[in-house]
C-alpha cells in the first residue's frame, strides 16, 4: 500500500489504532505534512500579521508557498519510501521554495530529522524524540540562536524537553507528540514579552515586546499538526 493510494485511510492502522500505538510509519509522516500544509494555508494571514508587527510581513506567505510545493511531490512517492525519505523531500523542497530565513532553518530542521531516523520504516517514541532533537539542533546550528532570543527555538526547545520527559515516563508516540505540541504552544506564547536578539526583529529593541515571534508560532502549528494526526 502506498501513501499515494491511501493518503488518509490509516495505512498504519495496526500501529496507531487504540491507546497503545507504538510506532509511526511513512503514511503517518505524509499525513503530518499534509495536515501542516492545510494548517499553514489557513494561518497564512495570521502569520503574515505577526511578521508585519516585528519583521517584514511575509512569514505566512513563505511557509504556505513551501508546504504547498510539497503536496504534489507527496503524490509521487515510491512504495518503499521511508519516513526519513519523506522528511528529506520536505527539507529540500522547503530549502528551494521558502526563501527568507525560514527556508534554510526549517529545511535544515527536516534534513537533520531525516538523518536522525535514517532508513527506519517505523518510528517508536525513542526515534521520535531523536527526530525532534535533531531538528532543533539543526536550527540552532544554522541560526545560532539560543533560548530566549525570541525565535523559533523558544518553541522547539521546550517541545524537545517535553517530548523527552514524556518518553522517559513511558508515553507512547501520541503522548510524546501531544507533550511536544503543548510545550511548543506555551513556548510560542512565552516569546511575547521578550526582546529579540536574532533576526530582523532584533532591530526593534524594546519595540518587539508584546509581539509573538512568528517563527515560534509556525513551529507550534507544525507540532500541533503532528499531534493532531496521531491517534491516541
Amino acid at each position: 500500500m502506498t501513501p499515494k493510494e491511501q493518503p488518509d485511510a490509516g495505512a498504519n492502522l495496526s500501529n496507531t489504532a487504540g491507546g497503545g500505538a507504538l510506532t509511526l510509519d511513512t503514511a503517518w509522516t505524509v499525513r503530518w505534512i499534509r495536515q501542516s500544509a492545510e494548517v499553514l494555508a489557513a494561518s497564512r494571514a495570521a502569520l503574515n500579521t505577526l511578521d508585519r508587527d516585528i519583521g517584514d510581513g511575509d512569514h505566512g506567505e513563505n511557509m504556505d508557498r513551501g508546504f504547498q510545493a510539497i503536496l504534489p511531490k507527496l503524490e509521487q512517492l515510491a512504495d518503499e519510501t521511508t519516513p526519513g525519505a519523506v522528511l528529506k523531500l520536505v527539507a529540500t523542497t522547503l530549502i528551494s521554495t521558502v526563501g527568507g530565513a525560514a527556508g534554510p532553518l526549517y529545511g535544515t530542521a527536516f534534513l537533520k530529522a531525516a538523518g536522525a531516523v535514517g532508513s527506519a520504516m517505523s518510528l517508536d517514541a525513542t526515534a521520535l524524540v531523536a527526530l525532534l532533537t535533531a531538528a532543533r539542533d539543526g536550527i540552532v546550528l544554522r541560526g545560532k540562536a539560543e533560548e530566549g532570543d525570541k525565535t523559533m527555538i523558544d518553541a522547539w526547545t521546550p517541545a524537545v524537553n517535553a517530548a523527552e520527559a514524556a518518553q522517559a515516563t513511558g508515553s507512547a508516540v501520541a503522548g510524546v507528540l501531544l507533550a511536544a505540541a503543548d510545550a511548543a504552544a506555551s513556548g510560542a506564547q512565552a516569546t511575547e514579552p521578550l526582546v529579540a536578539r536574532k533576526g530582523r526583529a532584533s532591530y526593534l529593541g524594546e519595540r518587539a515586546i508584546g509581539h509573538r515571534d512568528p517563527g515560534s508560532q509556525s513551529t507550534s502549528l507544525l507540532l500541533r499538526a503532528a499531534a493532531d494526526v496521531t491517534a491516541a
Binding site: I95, V98, V195
Partner: protein
Amino acid sequence: MVMKKLINDPRNVVNEAVAGFEAAHGDIVRVSHDPIFIARSDAPVQGKVGIVSGGGSGHEPLHGGFVGYGMLDAAVPGAVFTSPTPDPILAATHAADGGAGVLHIVKNYTGDVLNFETAADLASAEGIDVRTVIINDDVAVKDSLYTAGRRGVAGTVLVEKITGAAAERGDDLAAVVAVAEKVNSRVRTMGVALTPCVVPHAGEPSFVLADDEIEIGIGIHGEPGRERIKLEPADAIVDRLLAPILDDLPFVTGDTVLLFVNGMGGTPQVELYIVFRRAAEVLKDRGITVTRSLIGNYTTSLEMAGTSISVLKLDEELTSLWDAPVQTAALRWGR
C-alpha cells in the same frame, strides 16, 4: 494608503521586471529565468574571480543593475524583500565560476546570510572555491551583541564596485576577499525614512509613519533602527545621520572620503543634492576631504521616500579601483 503601482499581477513582479531588464540590457547581461539570476553576458570569464551577490527584490538597481564588466558577474533576485533560495544562488555561482573561485557578497540580513551559506556549502561540495564577505555598514544598530548585527545597506554598492574592479584587474580570490573586507571595514552608512513602502504581495504599508513623523536609522526595508521623531529641516536630519557615521569609524581630520548620498526610491534628486550639500559642509568643517561622490537611487526600498548617507574612507588603492572602468546598467564609466 491605497496600493497604486505599475504592476500586472503581484506574483509576477520579479519575473516581469527581470524580463524587462533582459530586454533593455541584453548587451551587458544574459538572464536565466529558471532558476532566476542575471549574469554578465561573457560570464564565466576564464581565470577571473567570479563575484556573485543577491538578495530580495525591491532594492533596484541593487543588485542586477551592477552586473557587468568591472563589477558583478552574477546577481540573484529573490521575491520582493525576501532572500533568494539556495538553488538560484548555486546556479549563479556556477555561471560566475571561471576557475579562479567565486566571492559571495552578502548583506547582513538573516535570510540572505542563511541562504547564501547553504548555497556556498553546496558549491564547495562540488569543488568550487567559494568565499563569502558579509557586508554590515549600517551604524544605526547600536548593540551588535544583542541583535543580528549591523545590517548591510547602501555601502554594499561601493563594496561591489571596488571589489569588482579588483577581480577585473586579475587579483586572486584571497586578494579579492581582502579588498571586499577592506571596503566593508571602512564604509559606514545611516538612513532615514520619510514614508513607508508597500510590498506588492502584501498590498499594505510594511510599517506606519504619521504624516509628520520620520524614522531615523532604517534598514533597506524600512525596518527601524534608532528612533522615530518629528520631521525636521533637511540640514538637521543630515546632521543626525552623519554624526554617528563619523564617530563610529571614526573619520578624522585629514581623511579623504567618498561621499555617497543614496535615495530610497521615492525622494527626488533635488532633495538628495540638498542632503549632499549639507553633508559635504559638515565633512569640510571636520577637515575631511570629499574626493569622490555618488548621488542617486542605488539601494532603494521600493517607493519609500528617504535617503541614506554613506562615507567611505579612501586611500590610493581604493580610489584607483573606484575610478577603474565599469559597464553595468546602473554604473558606467571609463569604458
